[in-house]
Amino acid sequence: MDWLLHAGDDPVHKLLLMLIAIGLFVALMAIILFVVDRPRNPARWFVGFGFTGVALLLLLAGLVYPAVLTIWTSFLRRNSGDFIGLDNYARAFTEPQFLVVLGNTALWVLVAPFVATFLGLVYAYVVDRSRFEKLAKGLVFLPMAISMVGASIIWKFVYEFKPQGVEQTGLLNQFLVWLGGEPQQWLLSRPLNTFLIMVVFVWIQTGFAMTLLSASIKAIPTDITEAARLDGVSGFGMFWRITIPSIRPALVVVLTTIAMTTLKTFDIVRTMTAGQFGTSIVALEFYDQGFRQQDAGMAAALAVLLFVIVVPVVVYNVRQQRKVEEIR
């Protein structure tokens, strides 16, 4: 038993353990599918549960239970068991520190996903079937391969400030100096700094949008584009009237996914400014309260706010889903 649990320091043992894990998992799945497939006319719920059951059980234990716990904690004072009702929420909506945070988060959700999706879409469309497609996509994908912290460090370099008279080490300020301007304290100037930090996020997520959207552009049946072309549609019209409607569901998916990521991402702001200079967002404030201030109650309240912010996104998606089904 211990052999199966702990691999110690032996790399061969570790690799073996990995193979065993995969093997055990495949066996488990095979058994489940075999059982599901057995009855001649199985009840629908039985098959449905066979396919979704493992996922649902894992989610129940791993995400739903902690989420419920969090909702409860959000009514408690710090780490104690004292019930204080909505006090944590009241704080979140009254203290100026948190109001800035809420405003910034709204800005992030409203701007970052759209910019990333838009750039990814345009880029995917433009390089599609061009000679350099693979290289071009590889370049934009590259930032995805860097961790968020790594990417933030890269951009911290770009925004770095050195005063006039000292050699610049930040690319952006160097450009400004070359153009005859004065170097700027980029990360200090509000509200520009929030947008400059968003640039980092967009820089990473565009690769994600591009990859998925490019695949879906390629899936547009050629007879549709051909027919449109025969009708005299061209250039921007082709993009606007044929491509976009054809990949609409994919666009919604990509936008949604990036919006969700936006709400959760905190390492970028943490690395760039640590939330100083009026740049903090809910996810970072949550991390701060929970893991640095050890205020579990406040952290939980902020996490619940994240759920609430996401409700409109969920509703929108459900509506879209319904529409697609009606067409079907």
Binding site: M18, L33, L58, A61, L139, I146, A219, P221, T257, L306
Partner: protein, 307 residues
């Protein structure tokens, strides 16, 4: 993947002739200012990374006193401005062999990609094609779970692992990554699955195929590109993960990211070494992307033609 048009696929004319004409037409349409735009984006997306790459080969004091772009001028002047010192520190500066961290990263990542994708594929099929009671509500719930911050799950999950006596092993790391990946994986794969034409599924059903058979024989071939795409992202997230590794793992399971994070030094002053570390850890994901890219682009086209 997202063909919303409900045509019967078999009547589609062979792609070759029209395809090549369409290709020519498209090329003419996107030039030239579109090409300019593409080049601008590509450059903007590459320059910061190049900057970091150049930086990672520069001595510490140079990094802090002059911009990385100055090396090109200096190199012309014949001055020795590059050094491997940062890479030496990153690779050999620890009492532990870097290879050990690489092994751990692999051992952590492979099952953490394979397991959630498999579970999510089955679940996505269930939600997309099996009409059981409560399906829509459950799916919306799964979808909304995407926003749960991983941090709130750490204490409850770790407590459970401690109670079970399996904390600090690879098993808890695989399990945790699998759980965290599921909402997005199910959501994305569900959307791909939904787009498979109903006629194909119906046809198979008429032939007497059950759900398991349909899943393997109809869905899987069509979904190969989608799986490849998601596998890349999941691979990247797990490979670059620090949080789960730190909380759920222990000394014997720590992956590369844990080592890289330390390169900044106790007081965060050594980030010149970080630049080298970042590139060392980037190598594998980039290789994986290049290897899979070809595969899923081709697969996607094949799927479109077939479906």
């Amino acid at each position: 993947m997202t063909t919303t048009t409900p045509q019967v696929p078999t009547v589609r004319p062979p792609a070759s002739g029209i395809g090549s004409r369409a290709r020519k037409a498209r090329k003419a349409l996107t030039s030239p200012w579109a090409s300019t735009l593409a080049i601008v984006i590509a450059v903007l997306w590459t320059v910061p990374t190049v900057g970091l790459l150049v930086t990672s080969f520069r001595p510490e004091l140079d990094i802090r006193t002059s911009g990385w772009w100055t090396v090109f001028g200096d190199a012309f002047a014949g001055e020795g401005v590059f050094s491997l010192r940062n890479y030496e520190t990153a690779l050999y500066g620890s009492s532990t062999n870097m290879i050990e961290f690489f092994v751990n990263s692999f051992v952590v990542t492979l099952p953490a990609v394979f397991i959630p994708i498999t579970i999510a594929l089955l679940a996505a099929y269930g939600f997309a094609w099996i009409d059981f009671k409560g399906r829509d509500i459950l799916f919306i719930a799964v979808f909304a779970l995407q926003v749960v911050p991983i941090q709130i799950t750490l204490v409850p999950l770790l407590s459970a692992y401690v109670d079970l006596g399996i904390n600090g092993t690879f098993w808890t790391i695989w399990l945790s990554h699998s759980i965290f990946a599921l909402p997005l994986a199910i959501f994305l794969l569900h959307n791909f699955m939904k787009d498979v034409p109903r006629s194909l599924v119906e046809a198979a059903r008429v032939d007497g195929a059950g759900h398991v058979k349909i899943f393997f024989q109809v869905m899987m071939p069509l979904l190969t590109p989608a799986i490849a795409a998601f596998a890349i992202f999941q691979f990247l997230w797990v490979w670059n993960d620090l949080l789960v590794a730190l909380v759920m793992g222990d000394l014997r399971t720590f992956p590369l990211t844990v080592r890289i994070a330390e390169l900044a030094g106790s007081r965060g002053g050594d980030w010149h070494v970080l630049s080298a570390g970042a590139f060392i850890s980037m190598v594998v994901p980039v290789i994986v992307f290049l290897a899979l890219q070809r595969y899923f682009v081709r697969g996607m086209l094949a799927g479109a033609v077939k479906g």
